[in-house]
């Protein structure tokens, strides 16, 4: 009897957590994507490129380092799916959307900083991804993912367009 109750509790509680994590996680993700798309649309006229050299046609008035970073946390559902994936191998789809969001958000924040400081372009854009861990007993559990986007913002005498 008790072992049956034990089993039910051991399965039901995590299942409920998973369900909650799935639905809230999905809603947060959807809202974030909407915000990302809207802001990408607004800032589409500010080029962010990976050119290392400034195109010769551009005349630079001033420049500065601009960066944007974000740390997005992993939810229980994604972490569970990833745990199962590491047994069978293959693409970890649950983390891909996480990284996509983080990357686009970081680039947006970089562009936003450039725009706020009066720059019209960002060159030599670089992206760095790091795993943020939580100090846990055995394996250091992943708490979230940080993406940093940085580059050189340029104030141009003439519009690049």
């Amino acid at each position: 009897m008790e072992s049956a109750i034990d089993a039910v509790v051991n399965i039901a509680v995590p299942l409920v957590l998973l369900a909650v994590a799935f639905f809230t996680g999905r809603r947060i993700e959807r809202r974030h994507y909407q915000s990302i798309r809207a802001r990408e649309n607004e800032l589409r006229m500010l080029p962010a490129v990976t050119f290392r050299q400034i195109p010769s046609a551009w005349v630079v008035d001033s420049f500065g380092v601009v960066s944007g970073s974000v740390v997005i946390s992993i939810d229980y559902f994604k972490r569970f799916l990833a745990g199962l994936r590491t047994l069978v191998g293959g693409r970890v789809a649950s983390y891909e959307s996480l990284l996509d969001r983080a990357r686009r958000e970081a680039i947006l924040r970089c562009k936003e900083e450039a725009h706020a400081r009066g720059y019209q372009a960002v060159v030599n854009l670089r992206l760095e991804t790091t795993r943020v861990t939580r100090a846990s007993k055995n394996n250091r559990a992943t708490a979230g993912v940080e993406v940093l986007a940085f580059g050189t913002g340029l104030e141009l005498r003439r519009d690049p367009r």
Binding site: T50, A82, T86, R103, E128, R131
Partner: protein, 104 residues
């Protein structure tokens, strides 16, 4: 789709440039590769399982980046860079990014 890690495509001029395009994949090992790696950790030598895994991931990430570039109407990606990071135990993210351009 032309790819290059240099400033431009050698011998061609850039007509138009778009923004940064990127492709990324997160891939994980499976338990078989893990066990082989554990054994190799005793004896040393190349972890061919992991090499293959990361090789496939690189090709996958490049393919996705090319898809993004194609959707913009670009025909080349310049200043290409790769980055790897470990996302969770047993899985690594690989992404490739560059600037999509149109060369004549």
């Amino acid at each position: 789709m032309l790819l290059s890690t240099t400033e431009g495509i050698p011998g061609r001029t850039i007509k138009r440039f778009f923004g940064v395009v990127s492709g990324s994949t997160v891939r994980s090992k499976h338990i078989g590769r893990d066990i082989m790696a554990g054994i190799k950790n005793i004896f040393g030598g190349e972890l061919t399982g992991y090499t293959e895994l990361l090789q496939e991931s690189r090709e996958d990430a490049l393919a996705r980046m090319i898809q993004e570039a194609e959707s913009l109407g670009a025909n080349a990606v310049v200043n290409l860079r790769f980055a790897t990071s470990s996302i969770t135990q047993g899985a690594a993210e690989l992404f490739a990014y560059g600037t999509a351009v149109q060369v004549e």
